[in-house]
């Protein structure tokens, strides 16, 4: 009797599509809340250093003199600490798209354009507080 249960299940599968995807032709749909990769919007970043301080794996390095934001994707554990620490409006976000594979162990550098004076002053006062 029990043999027929498994046989039944197997035969049903003959009329179904495969459970796996034919990868390059059929890509997995992106799931909205996935923690895929860290992305920076350089135009809104105020270089406040909070994300660098909060990062548990020291994946973020910020050079304020040269205005460079450096991210090491190999160090990043996608915890989302930087995203929740960010005081600028969504300057650093976790995108739902996964990072593509890399052949070399290099870092990503985003040059940050100079900030409008109003935003810079807010950041400074908040940092002091």
């Amino acid at each position: 009797m029990s043999y027929f249960q498994m046989l039944n299940l197997s035969i049903q599968q003959l009329w179904h599509r495969p459970a796996t995807r034919l990868y390059p032709q059929e890509v997995r749909p992106v799931i909205a809340r996935s923690r895929g990769r860290v992305e920076l919007q350089p135009s809104t970043c105020t270089l406040c250093l909070l994300c660098e301080k909060k990062c548990p794996t020291h994946a973020i390095h910020i050079d304020r003199t040269q205005r460079l934001f450096t991210l090491d994707r190999f160090q990043c554990i996608l915890c989302g600490a930087c995203e929740s620490a960010c005081i600028a409006k969504h300057a650093i976000v976790l995108s739902e798209h996964y990072a593509p594979p890399q052949t070399h162990r290099d870092v990503i550098i985003w040059p940050v354009p100079s900030t409008p004076p109003s935003l810079a002053s807010t950041t400074k006062s908040q940092n002091k507080g």
């Binding site: 029990s2 043999y3 249960q5 909205a32 976790l94």
Partner: protein
């Protein structure tokens, strides 16, 4: 007395997802003794607590194990909250319970697949893991990660889930429950599975208690012991009875896990029906000073997290006693007297997780 032979089993073996080495002393086909050796994946995570901020240690705690990751972080956070005297909001506790039970279901399905694979039932293995894949998609949709949930933090949870997601979760879980019933019936009734598991690896009730077994290994020998009965977190509002079997063989351990999946579905239904509103996190104040001993039920059994703080942001001592470590003496005992061909199934029946054990 026949000639004795020592056969090395592991650390690399097709049925073992993780490395454990056993020296099997055989007489003909019969195992006389099994000498375990662990230490292949030691990472020194406990020592790391002395150098890492206690808030960042949650990430390390979650990475102790790749299967029961979320429950490790829950245990760490609950211990830390007790030391700091933080009250966790009810909604956060319920969400922790929700993800814990999801993690229990996917762990048991992983184990059921591996069991089918261990005696060459590839078809059933694929069917089980197909189900698990749908559940992992649900985990990703709610928590953001498939394996590392990254959702637990000291004082609450990082992410809230919307009403839309709750409805989606309920629909998915309903469909998965129906499919689980079909698989459960096959696992319980198939004659080839019964032939390979019934009467194999017997662990008597007294021996299980004496050797300090935990989790499904202990419950399959007739002890109704479950750390969730301590009513930590959200379990104080849920109604459940631990799943108990009395035979103490591999088949009983399998049935306990299958019925625990049913139980987890029931617990999630109860949780989602009365999910309270409100905040999901509270602010952390102060530095940890004092010690705490936290017991939490994982898919594999009871895990113990011991934390000791000295008033600075670094912990003085962090100790984890994982369920597989507690089940190893029982494993050595039940291997005695079995035939060599049954060793893979018996080793698998305690659901060994060696990364947990060695930390």
């Amino acid at each position: 007395m026949g000639k004795q032979t020592i056969i090395p089993f592991g650390p690399q073996h097709p049925v073992l997802p993780e490395p454990i080495h056993l020296d099997l002393v055989l007489e003909d086909e019969q195992v006389l003794q099994a000498i375990p050796r662990i230490g292949f994946v030691h990472r020194g995570l406990e020592k790391l607590a002395e150098k890492k901020d206690f808030q960042d240690m949650v990430y390390v705690g979650e990475r102790i194990c790749g299967i029961c990751s979320f429950i490790h972080s829950v245990a760490f956070c609950q211990a830390m909250e007790s030391i700091l005297g933080i009250e966790v909001p009810e909604r956060a506790q319920s969400l922790r319970g929700f993800w814990s039970e999801l993690s229990r279901i996917h762990s048991h399905w992983l184990w059921m697949g591996l069991l089918a694979d261990s005696f060459g039932f590839e078809n059933l293995f694929m069917q089980t893991w197909k189900l698990r894949e749908s559940l992992l998609d649900l985990v990703e949709a709610t928590a953001g990660g498939r394996v590392i949930y990254g959702s637990c933090k000291i004082g609450g949870v990082r992410r809230d889930i919307s009403l839309e997601l709750i409805t989606q979760a309920q629909t998915t879980l309903k469909a998965l429950y129906t499919q689980h019933q079909i698989l459960a019936s096959i696992f319980e009734n198939d004659t080839s599975i019964q032939h390979r598991t019934q009467g194999k690896g017997m662990l008597s009730k007294d021996k299980a208690y004496e050797l300090g077994a935990v989790g499904p290994t202990l419950r399959a020998s007739g002890w109704p012991l479950d750390a969730r009965l301590l009513k930590y977190g959200t379990y104080q509002n849920l109604e459940f009875q631990p799943v108990v079997e009395t035979q103490g063989d591999c088949y009983a351990r399998m049935r306990v896990r299958i019925r625990e999946v049913d139980q987890s579905f029931d617990l999630i239904n109860q949780l989602l029906k009365k999910l309270p509103d409100g905040p999901v996190e509270t602010k952390i104040t102060g530095m940890p000073s004092g010690e705490h001993f936290e017991r939490v039920e994982q898919p594999r059994g009871e895990v113990v997290h011991y934390l000791k703080g000295n008033g600075s942001k670094f912990l003085e001592r962090y100790r984890v006693r994982t369920p597989t470590f507690a089940n190893l003496p029982a494993l050595v005992e039940i291997l005695k007297g079995c035939t060599f061909a049954d060793v893979p199934i018996i080793v698998l029946s305690i659901d060994p997780c060696i990364s947990c054990t060695e930390r």
